[in-house]
C-alpha cells in the first residue's frame, strides 16, 4: 500500500480496488489503486476520467470492485476474497456528490433529519440543531433547496451527511462553482468540525486552487492509477507526469530529444522538438538520443526586448512575439523561438516595454523551472 504519512490507526480508511469496465468503442476503463487515508483531509487530485469518482463510489458501496479490499477502522467493508460486501446503508460512510443531491421536495431541516431515523426524537432534534449551527444554516431550516443559494446548499449537504456521525467522509468536487471566499469559509467550518471528530475525509478535485487551499495530503491519480502521493508541494510543484502537469497548470509542455548529459553539473541539454532551440534542464534518467518531455510554467519565463547579458539563468532563447492576448490582469504572450512558448506578463510590463506582435524578444528560463515529466 502506498503510505501517505501517518500511522495506521483505528480511524483510518484503507482501500485496495481493482475494477474494469467495458466502455463504448475504446479501451476499457481500468481502476487499479491502493490507498490509505488517515484522519484529516486528503485530496484526491487528477484530471477528468482519472477514476476518482469511481473510486469514491467503490468506497461508499455504490459500485462494486472486481477485486480488492476496503477497510474502515477495523471493519472490512469489502473483501472480494472473503466474500464480504457491506451495502452502502450499513457502511456509515458519508458521501457528498458534486450535484449535492439534496431532496428537492423536503425542507433543509427534513433533509438533515433524513439519515437519523431510529433515534429517539429528542436526541435527533439536538443533533440536528447542533450541526445546523455548526454550519451556520439555522435560519434556512424551513426552506426548500430550490430556495437556497449556492454556498448554503453545500453547507446543508455537508450537514446532512455529517449529522449521522459517519466514520469516513467522501466529497466529490462539492465546492465547484463557488467563488473562492465562499469555498474558504465552508472549508474552515468543515475543518473546525473535524478537529473534534478526526475522521478521514477524502476530497476529490481537479482544480489546483482547491488543492492549495485545503492542502494537507494529496493523492494524484491518472487513468485509473495512483501516480503520486505526498504534500501538495511535492505532488504539484514537481509533477512527474505530463497529464498531471497539465492539470497542475503548466502551460508549456514540450517534447524534445536529449543531446548530451553533464552529470557533474547535474544538468542535461535537450533539443526541443524539431527546432534548433536547446535548453538546459535538470539531469534525469535518460541517455543521449532519448525522447523526453519538459514542463515549464508560463509564469516562470522572463521576457527581454534586448539580449540580456550576465544573467545566472542558463537558458536564453531568441524569438519573435507572435501574439499578445490580454486576459484580465494577465497578458498571455506567444513567442516563437522555433518552438512556441507561452509566457505570462503583466499589463504594466507590456506597456513599459512597449511590446507588440512581431517584436524580437529573448526568453529567459531557469534550469530548475524546467521539469521533466513522463508521458
Amino acid at each position: 500500500m502506498d503510505t501517505v504519512g501517518g500511522e495506521l490507526n483505528a480511524s483510518m480508511l484503507a482501500a485496495r480496488v481493482h475494477l474494469q469496465r467495458a466502455r463504448a468503442g475504446s479501451i476499457p476503463f481500468l481502476l487499479d489503486v491502493s490507498i490509505q487515508v488517515p484522519a484529516g483531509i486528503t485530496i484526491l487530485f487528477g484530471p477528468s476520467g482519472a477514476g476518482k469518482s469511481t473510486l469514491l463510489d467503490c468506497i461508499a458501496g455504490l459500485a462494486r470492485p472486481d477485486a480488492g479490499r476496503i477497510v474502515a477502522g477495523e471493519e472490512a467493508l469489502f473483501d472480494s476474497q472473503a466474500g464480504v460486501n457491506c451495502p452502502p446503508q450499513a457502511r456509515r460512510i458519508a458521501y457528498v456528490f458534486q450535484t449535492l443531491a439534496l431532496f428537492p421536495h423536503m425542507s433543509a431541516e427534513e433533509n438533515v433529519y433524513y439519515g437519523l431515523d431510529g433515534m429517539p426524537p429528542r436526541e435527533r432534534a439536538a443533533r440536528v440543531d447542533e450541526i445546523l449551527k455548526a454550519f451556520r444554516v439555522e435560519k434556512l431550516r424551513a426552506r426548500k433547496p430550490a430556495e437556497i443559494s449556492g454556498g448554503e446548499r453545500q453547507r446543508i449537504a455537508l450537514a446532512r451527511s455529517l449529522v449521522t456521525q459517519p466514520r469516513v467522509l467522501l466529497l466529490d468536487e462539492p465546492l465547484s462553482g463557488l467563488d473562492a471566499e465562499l469555498k474558504a469559509a465552508i472549508v474552515d467550518d468543515l475543518r473546525a468540525w473535524n478537529t473534534a471528530r478526526r475522521i478521514p475525509i477524502l476530497y476529490v478535485t481537479h482544480t489546483r486552487e482547491e488543492v492549495d487551499a485545503l492542502g494537507e495530503r494529496v493523492i494524484a491519480m491518472d487513468r485509473g492509477r495512483v501516480i503520486s502521493t505526498g504534500t501538495p508541494m511535492e505532488v504539484l510543484e514537481a509533477p512527474r507526469h505530463k497529464r498531471l502537469a497539465q492539470a497542475a497548470g503548466f502551460e508549456n509542455l514540450l517534447s524534445g530529444t536529449v543531446v548530451d548529459l553533464r552529470e557533474a553539473d547535474g544538468v542535461m541539454r535537450v533539443r526541443l522538438n524539431e527546432s534548433h532551440c536547446e535548453i538546459e534542464v535538470p539531469l534525469g534518467y535518460a541517455a543521449a538520443g532519448d525522447r523526453v518531455h519538459v514542463a515549464i510554467r508560463a509564469g516562470d519565463i522572463l521576457l527581454a526586448t534586448s539580449q540580456p547579458h550576465d544573467l545566472s539563468a542558463r537558458n536564453i532563447i531568441e524569438g519573435k512575439i507572435v501574439a499578445l492576448e490580454t486576459r484580465g490582469t494577465l497578458v498571455r504572450a506567444r513567442v516563437n523561438c522555433g518552438v512556441e512558448f507561452i509566457v505570462h506578463l503583466t499589463p504594466g510590463a507590456v506597456r513599459s516595454l512597449d511590446l507588440a506582435e512581431g517584436f524580437r524578444a529573448w526568453l529567459v528560463l531557469k534550469t530548475h523551472s524546467c521539469h521533466l515529466v513522463e508521458e
Binding site: 455504490l62 446503508q89 456528490f97 433524513y114
Partner: protein, 230 residues
C-alpha cells in the same frame, strides 16, 4: 342512472387496482436490470395495440369453463366469471394496464439517480427510499396514471361488449347503454346519456389537471402530460 353509476364504480375499482398493482410492477420495470425485461415491457404494452374486441375475446375464452381464469374462479366461487362485475373489472384492468404502468415507469425513471444513491448512503433501504424519495417525486406521474386508467375505463366499450352480457346494474355500463339506445333507434336517450358522460368526464379531468399543476409547482418540477407519458 344505473349505467352511469356502474361505469363510475367500474372506473374507480379499476383505477384503484391498477394503482396498487401498477406501483410494484412499474418499480420493477424501472429499476431492474434483468436482461429479459424487454419481454415484460412488451407484454404490458400489448393492450395499446390490440383491438379491444380481440382482448375481450381472449379474456372471454380464458374465463370460459375450459380456460385458466374460468376454472380458477369456478373452484373458488362456484360460478363463472363472465357476465359478472368482477369479470368486467378483470378485463378492464388488463385493457388499461399500459395506461397506468407506463406513466409510472416514466415518472420513476425521471427521478435523479443521485437522489437514490444519496438515500442509500444515508442509511435508507429500498422501501424507505421508495416511500420517501421516489414516490413524492413521482406524484404527477401517479396522478396521470390514475386519471388515464379512470378515463380509459369510463370510455371502454369493446371489451365490455365481449365479456359483459349486458346485464342491467351489473355489466351494462354507460357506453353499452348508449349503444343499445342507438340500436333501438332511441336517439334522444342516447344523446342525453352521452352528454352526461361527457360532462362528468370533462369535470373530473379538469379537476385533476388543476390539482396536478399545483402539486407540480410545489415540487418545482415540470408538469406531466399524458402524451409525454408514452
Amino acid at each position: 342512472m344505473d349505467a352511469l353509476l356502474l361505469s363510475l364504480r367500474l372506473a374507480l375499482c379499476v383505477s384503484a387496482i391498477l394503482l396498487a398493482g401498477g406501483l410494484p410492477l412499474a418499480y420493477w420495470l424501472a429499476y431492474s436490470n434483468w436482461r429479459g425485461k424487454f419481454l415484460l415491457e412488451a407484454v404490458v404494452a400489448l393492450p395499446l395495440v390490440l383491438p379491444p374486441t380481440v382482448l375481450g375475446f381472449y379474456v372471454l375464452v380464458a374465463m370460459g369453463p375450459h380456460g385458466p381464469l374460468g376454472k380458477f374462479w369456478q373452484t373458488f366461487f362456484g360460478h363463472g366469471l363472465a357476465f359478472t362485475f368482477e369479470g368486467l373489472v378483470l378485463a378492464s384492468v388488463l385493457y388499461s394496464l399500459p395506461f397506468a404502468v407506463q406513466p409510472l415507469i416514466a415518472s420513476f425513471e425521471s427521478v435523479d439517480r443521485k437522489l437514490l444513491d444519496a438515500s442509500a448512503v444515508l442509511g435508507a433501504g429500498s422501501l424507505k427510499t421508495f416511500w420517501r424519495v421516489i414516490l413524492p417525486l413521482s406524484i404527477p406521474g401517479i396522478v396521470t396514471a390514475v386519471v388515464l386508467s379512470f378515463a380509459h375505463t369510463m370510455g371502454e366499450f369493446g371489451v365490455v361488449l365481449m365479456v359483459g352480457g349486458n346485464l342491467a346494474g351489473v355489466t351494462r355500463t354507460v357506453s353499452i347503454d348508449i349503444y343499445d339506445h342507438v340500436q333501438s333507434l332511441e336517439y334522444a336517450d342516447a344523446n342525453r346519456m352521452a352528454l352526461v358522460l361527457l360532462a362528468i368526464s370533462f369535470a373530473v379531468l379538469s379537476f385533476v389537471y388543476a390539482v396536478n399543476r399545483q402539486v407540480g409547482r410545489q415540487i418545482g418540477r415540470r408538469l406531466w402530460t399524458p402524451w409525454a407519458a408514452n
